[in-house]
Symmetry: C2
Subunit: 329 residues, 2 copies
């Protein structure tokens, strides 16, 4: 009936997405403990932090120190995020930190100005220079992101044509250079996606470059994250960014929204995949333990569901639990 | 591509599901204020409370007083839940309270014993007597529920055949009496459902009685609630139980699980339907206000997403908000 993939990969972003938005800066050793726990789950890509303006995002000011102190487990790619020249220079200066070079397309000026102090067209024009610089510096570009690919709280609805124009531009850069097209990521930065629009936009992007893999960066801002992942899986999407325990959200959001503006929750989506018979390479029970550690570090209940209710493995094998729920219906 | 319905109906259960599990009994006037707010949203069915053992569920001890004091808005059906003879007698004694007579099938002894002190087979055998009693008392049976229709934390996995056997039994009772088949509800009491199994079981139940409507009572225990609703909508399901703000869960669950074991969140699922172009008859902004009132009454952040992030209507029309999220990607 549907075209589910055999296996999918998750890029764990909770340590960046989650801790950058907290009012506190948490002790580095605790964030390293969480990264260690995540490294032992089978995750193959884990984002460690961002190299951004420490005055604006002080929680990430020690990202390079954290990266240096982290014990890097073989087989796991530890990634950093940068948004500009200054961040890039920092990443270049650290051995092993320059391994996640994405191109980034903005579709609304309001968001591009707020996040990068440039218009969307200016940002687009810079991507060719970034690509050539990454290539000259010996990096493989891992991803092309198109941000707010369904809509933007600041700039309003985003037309599919705008999304396709951005991807066409990126695809052209790679084709002009005889390079393979890297994975194409649609980012639902502010939670505008709904499942039928997920399917429609994935289908349209796939037509631009059928040979490229497609990825999604989804937030569960409005409660449709799981439905959107399910819709994407039914379209054969195999790459997802996600955050353990549902950590994450926006550092500039008001307090009321903070606890619900997170990314899709890694362990809940791993559970979804496993229930659908899709492999993830991840030990769900170990990931649930990591989610509980994240909650312990943050110090308040986090939004993940499976981390609180437990997965089904134990119940399937006849173990009954204290948390069993008994109220009809 | 999919067979989405033109419109769906929600049965709001938050005031029962939500308040029955809280350690406190909240003031009746506040629960009435919430019911008033819900009544003004366009919801056509709202559950007021349950008539169960006040020693076990003291939060519901004043359900009949609440029902009597409530100003009932024309066009809204206010429902009560009972599980046994004693509860039924109470409902019968109150004008207007006897309007939601369901048959209830249990599939695991462990859950039937815990919830009703009977085996699943004993409970099944009683349903014929209940039906005839409801008919003799002048009621229309509104629903047939099959509980734990995907699995049970206490009793383990539930085979599809068990679900079908229960519905066959119920359908036989109605056909034997020349009565139309009421809506057939699959209840995912403990959060075992996943979207492909939702589709498979709905398809199989529909074959038993193609003329009957199918309904779902879903919990978001393991983060798949939205994906399950989306899967059900793609199968043409038009009836959903849900709880405002994601209220609800199990009165016997431990504290850790309490804030995540709730029902699917009414306003998030209404938002999903509207994004899919499916009518609900509900004013989403008014429902969000009711969700915020529920959070104010309960006194801690609740699990609903749209109630915190806002729906998209305002953003689509160019309003930008303080809660706009700006972090890449």
């Amino acid at each position: 009936m549907s075209d589910f993939p055999k296996s999918v990969e998750f890029h764990e972003e909770g340590v960046r997405e989650g801790f950058q938005m907290e009012p506190l800066t948490y002790p580095r050793e605790r964030r390293i403990a969480l990264l260690d726990a995540l490294s032992a789950t089978g995750l193959r890509q884990i984002q460690v932090g961002s190299l951004v303006n420490p005055r604006k995002v002080p929680q990430m000011a020690d990202t390079l120190e954290l990266f240096a102190e982290l014990e890097r487990r073989p087989g796991v790619r530890y990634t950093l995020l940068w948004l500009n020249e200054s961040g890039y220079r920092k990443a270049r200066a650290v051995e092993g930190a320059f391994n996640h070079a994405p191109l980034m397309y903005y579709l609304t000026d309001a968001f591009a100005l707020r996040n990068n102090n440039r218009t969307a067209l200016d940002m687009r024009a810079e991507q060719e220079a970034w690509l050539d610089r990454y290539l000259a510096d010996g990096a493989t570009v891992q991803k092309v992101y198109v941000l707010t690919a369904w809509g933007c709280n600041l700039g309003g609805p985003v037309a599919l044509d705008s999304v396709l124009d951005a991807f066409r531009h990126a695809i052209g850069l790679f084709r002009d250079r005889g390079l393979p097209i890297p994975p194409l990521y649609l980012a639902d930065t502010m939670g505008w996606a709904s499942p039928e629009e997920v399917k429609r936009r994935i289908g349209a992007v796939r037509e631009l470059a059928p040979e490229a893999r497609i990825g999604l960066h989804l937030h569960d801002t409005r409660g449709l994250g799981g439905a959107n992942v399910y819709a994407a899986l039914s379209m054969g999407v195999t790459l997802f960014d996600a955050s353990v325990a549902g950590l994450g959200g926006c550092p500039f959001a008001g307090h009321k929204a903070r606890h619900t503006s997170g990314n899709i929750c890694t362990e809940d989506m791993v559970f979804l995949c496993h229930e659908l018979g899709i492999e993830t390479g991840i030990d769900l029970e170990a990931l649930i333990e990591a989610a509980r550690l994240a909650e312990d570090i943050i110090g308040r209940p986090l939004m993940g569901r499976v981390m609180h209710s437990g997965a089904l493995k134990a119940f399937r094998h006849g173990k009954t639990a204290d948390s069993a729920c008994a109220s009809a219906p």
